[in-house]
Symmetry: C2
Subunit: 343 residues, 2 copies
Amino acid sequence: MDLMKIAVDAMGGDNAPQTVVEGVERARDEYSDLEFNLYGKESEIKKYLNDQSRIQIIHTDNKIDMNDEPVRAIRRKKDSSMVLAAKAVKDGEADAFFSCGNTGALLAAGLLIVGRIKGISRPGLLSTLPMLSKGEGALNLLDSGANADNKPEHLYEYAILGKYYAQKVRGIANPRIGLLNNGTEEHKGSKTTQEAYQLLKATPNLNFVGNVESNAILKDVADVVVADGFTGNAVLKAIEGTASATMHLLKDSIMNSGVSGKLGALLLKSTFNELKNKMNQSQYGGAVLLGVKAPVVKAHGSSDSAAVYYTLKQIHKMLEEKMIPDLVAYFEEEAKKTDGAEE
Amino acid sequence: MDLMKIAVDAMGGDNAPQTVVEGVERARDEYSDLEFNLYGKESEIKKYLNDQSRIQIIHTDNKIDMNDEPVRAIRRKKDSSMVLAAKAVKDGEADAFFSCGNTGALLAAGLLIVGRIKGISRPGLLSTLPMLSKGEGALNLLDSGANADNKPEHLYEYAILGKYYAQKVRGIANPRIGLLNNGTEEHKGSKTTQEAYQLLKATPNLNFVGNVESNAILKDVADVVVADGFTGNAVLKAIEGTASATMHLLKDSIMNSGVSGKLGALLLKSTFNELKNKMNQSQYGGAVLLGVKAPVVKAHGSSDSAAVYYTLKQIHKMLEEKMIPDLVAYFEEEAKKTDGAEE
């Protein structure tokens, strides 16, 4: 059995390295084909590590902070835990790169150190959201914020990247791909979405289901929704912010509702927990920078050890299913077609 | 006392003309300085009308349907209730125009019939959202969907339009104006938002509070948030869709939670109602097309008579406070400065 190695920035995140180490140990115990390089302060890491099998610690004192300017931090803090983890992937020492740290720095490390797949112009960030309609299910949204200005051809790339992710990681044979737009009809939208619509419509072997409005994306109308990174980011944050604000508002109202209200809340405790679980994104893993040469994945800064574990599980699936080699092959094939057409 | 006249498309909306007529009567009874022209089927309107004082019915058999193509409908259905109402404003017979009908057609009627204020290049749609943080309060978002492609200078116009609305209608002396963006730092964003930031920062007498992310806009960080119409529309629909989906999910969970859960829900009934009221947008009136020569306001297609009443109250306030004349004067002054600078 070939072992797959994940390079872990052990110092990224609010509760690092504790939750990172705990999540790594859980994933190591579950997947016998995984091994880990942990980059960070050895003494700190060892405090929380119970069993070092298939775990190697690479000591460094430096780390990238949450408020560091991303590109500068990547360029200057060459011995930081995040840069060392990304370099391990670039140098072929590790197969994937994981961090709960500074998102901008992780994106910069992915782009500048791990590097783009040939044929991809603008890697995009893929986020997974739970469906809020009845039943199970989730939705992938990309680009959810790696870029601020996207062109129609980038949205085409996101459709392919998202399709492979949904097939390989979520096991959906023929994922429904939607285009985030301000109306459902074909002619609707900005210049960018109108052009992207035509590109997606013309793509062979793509289950393109047309335009999806942001009030419908949680209603199971598509498995993957593509958007420019500016709008995708705004929609993702609006959904997260509204869900969280609604739950807080409910909680506050209950706290102020007197004895009968509190009794009511007690009786509904399992219902509220069920709702909270359903809305919990971390079960789906982290946000994936798709379009680079290896899985580069970011979990939330406030991740607990379960969220770290779920993200490592997600990375394991990407590696096991050989998602990246397949993507590389697809875009190589595409490039050949374009070259052929140009001759 | 000068009477102010509102031209009402009595046939627009799912429950027209009943809820429209009921809302109009309530507003007429409350505001002695309001009178109304109701455009639509006289026999239908009269079915629901109790007292015709200060209400004139202008009969027409034609109306614009929800699935009519907007611009074509406005051009071809010249005797529809919506077009006649918009024309009454253009011809100086009425001071404002109201409909619960086809949004696209209302926008087209506002732009093509009522017409732009001189100096405004792209009128924008202003929506009002309740704050989901503790306490009272609301937020204006514009452009929430009149345009699909906006330039930085349009966002500057929205800031001025939104400022006047917040001052005149909401009575906020010095409204906080935020720019919807994908990060809070000054340098963040797309090319459009980066340029808009500098324009807003340089505008005198504007309480510009900087960038606002979409997960913060319901948290009382600004009174008005400006955005390009594509992103504004996506964020508005994401917020509305998530709030509604969360409440539905809660309801479904309770329905499936057995006897103790249902008892709990009963005890929390007033809490749930309070939450529902807080999230009810219709108390703030309808969506206003700002930048045209008169108040042009759209209430939701499913509006009940209370929503119609609140929207007429909102229009009354705009008229009473002379918002439009003040906006016209502002942009005339602006044009003079620009002309002066060019000489």
